[in-house]
């Protein structure tokens, strides 16, 4: 366990940047920028898993890191770029449920809430790094869910869902000493399928309506 203070400091830094990318996914206007932020977030998740893997000498965490980098930074972005037409990525999301300053303020409240929620849990899990990863992971979960609520475009909503998933793993790798690889493998198969399905659906919606602002699709229309 040599060099643990340095590792935990680096992990804390990773966690801070992880949270920043989650905030970015809430706040950015461009669809492409939020996709890039999601990639950055997944890279930070990988980095955190590697740091924890080094600190604990756990091969499982390296497997988690490898799977994360394969699916979330390569496969899912490729799938989303491939299925959804390039026009969607060029657009800016004009209409949101809330404007950006108020959604950022709510995001700040959510982060406080995440710390409040995580605090009693931290008394139970006496694992190093959980101090950092658990509240930040929960915060990223909340922010991802909030992204789904506040956005009206299909692709950013999907990215919010994937950010929730990232948050779950960010918290998960810290509280369990050895995260079973089967859990991560299941996610590795599951999540790209979700991305593929939503991507295909978005492509159809875009082809039919010329927009992907799914927030407007509130009522049925008779043919």
């Amino acid at each position: 366990m040599a060099g643990t203070p340095v590792l935990s400091a680096l992990d804390a830094l990773t966690g801070a940047l992880f949270l920043l990318t989650a905030l970015g996914v809430v706040a950015t206007r461009q669809v492409l920028a939020s996709l890039q932020l999601f990639i950055a977030q997944s890279l930070l998740l990988t980095l955190s898993a590697v740091l924890l893997g080094i600190a604990r000498g756990s091969i499982h965490l390296f497997a988690v890191a490898a799977i994360t980098i394969a699916t979330k930074t390569l496969l899912i972005p490729w799938l989303l770029r491939y299925t959804v037409s390039a026009e969607v990525y060029r657009t800016r999301e004009i209409e949101r449920v809330l404007n950006i300053p108020s959604s950022l303020l709510i995001a700040a409240v959510l982060i406080v809430l995440a710390y409040v929620v995580a605090n009693p849990l931290l008394g139970v899990v006496e694992v190093p790094f959980a101090q950092i990863n658990l509240p930040l992971g929960i915060a990223a979960m909340f922010l991802g869910a909030f992204t789904i609520a506040v956005r009206r475009e299909a692709v950013p909503q999907l990215l919010g869902l994937l950010a929730v998933e990232n948050g779950v793993f960010f918290a998960g790798i810290a509280i369990v000493p050895n995260l079973p690889v089967i859990a991560e493998l299941a996610a590795a198969v599951d999540v790209p399928v979700v991305a593929l399905v939503v991507g295909m659906l978005t492509r159809r919606i875009h082809a039919r309506l010329g927009t992907t602002a799914v927030g407007q699709l509130a009522s049925l229309r008779e043919q």
């Binding site: 920043l20 706040a27 101090q131």
Partner: protein, 316 residues
């Protein structure tokens, strides 16, 4: 005792002398990125020299505020240079005269005078720029407060000399999440406060879109030279506060002899030029925000600083 006063005055000399150079380097680098040659890096010195030798025209309808403002604006960064660590790691003679909030107040005074002077001449663009500056200012204020609050909470002090050593003793403190988040928030503040690109275009010549620069449009001759010099010094001092107090004290003189203090000058300038490279990158890769989008930009800075406070609170 005497040497501390001398070094303190040396800091002021460094700020006054090298501020136009930093501005020149910034604009030259920007032009190079845009595939142009750009003016010489010494152009700001020539501009100031030329303006100092020109006649000054002052509107007869303006009051003493208009005449006094260039001096107030020029004095503010000079005064601030006495308080902050520009060259040395150890406190100098005037260091305990004011803390970082004091620095904020001094700059606020200069900003207040600049806004009054802009409104004084009844030039239609001046008051518009002044009111916009106020808008950016009052949006940025809560972020400043949060940043200073976190800093004083972490370091247990608001004296910049005590704060700067906090981040590197031990070195793990540098990677604290709250530190990194503070850096982000303060960087965004520098961009907003100095009228840099996502908020305002420093090289823009279109009066209707100006925020910061339109306040000094009415000045000519010596007043214009002082305002230009003061703007360059404010930029330089903000960078110094950011680099030496918030980022790291690396490169500052530790020893008390004159040699190490003089050696700190090129090291600090090197640091500043490194930061200017980053700044030029930011400025060249972003577009200027529309006026009402500025709230989003500063709102993001505010949330980042709040998150910094929260992460800090939860660690203890």
């Amino acid at each position: 005792m005497i040497e501390r006063i001398v070094y303190n005055l040396l800091q002021v000399v460094v700020v006054v002398a090298f501020a136009p150079l930093v501005e020149g380097v910034t604009s030259r680098l920007k032009e190079i990125i845009q595939s142009k040659r750009g003016p010489s890096i010494f152009q700001p010195y020539r501009d100031i020299w030329k303006l100092l030798h020109k006649d000054e025209i002052v509107s007869e309808h303006s009051s003493w505020i208009f005449r006094a403002t260039p001096y107030v604006a020029f004095a503010a960064p000079v005064f601030v240079a006495l308080l902050i660590p520009v060259l040395t790691r150890y406190p100098l003679f005037f260091a305990f005269m004011g803390d970082m909030l004091g620095v904020g107040f001094v700059f606020a005074l200069a900003g207040f005078f600049a806004c009054l002077a802009a409104a004084d001449t009844a030039n239609p663009y001046g008051p518009m720029g002044a009111s916009r500056t106020r808008m950016v200012g009052f949006l940025a204020e809560p972020v400043f407060i949060m940043v200073f609050f976190t800093i004083s909470f972490v370091a247990g002090s608001t004296i910049p000399y005590i704060v700067q050593t906090q981040w590197v003793t031990p070195i793990a403190n540098f990677f604290e999440p709250s530190h990194i988040l503070l850096l982000m928030a303060f960087l965004m503040l520098i961009l907003a406060e100095d009228g840099r690109i996502p908020v305002d275009s420093p090289s823009g010549q279109f009066e209707l879109a100006m925020i910061d620069r339109s306040k000094s449009l009415e000045y000519s001759g010596r007043g214009a030279a002082l305002m230009k010099w003061a703007g360059a010094m404010k930029f330089f001092v903000l960078i110094i506060v950011f680099l030496n107090v918030l980022v790291t004290p690396w490169g500052l003189a530790q020893g008390r002899d004159i040699g190490s203090v003089l050696l700190a000058i090129p090291l600090v300038l090197l640091k500043v030029f490194g930061f200017v490279l980053l700044l030029v990158y930011i400025e060249s890769s972003l577009a200027k925000l529309r006026l009402f989008r500025i709230t989003e930009f500063i709102g993001a800075a505010f949330v980042i600083s709040v998150v910094a406070v929260i992460t800090r609170l939860s660690e203890i």
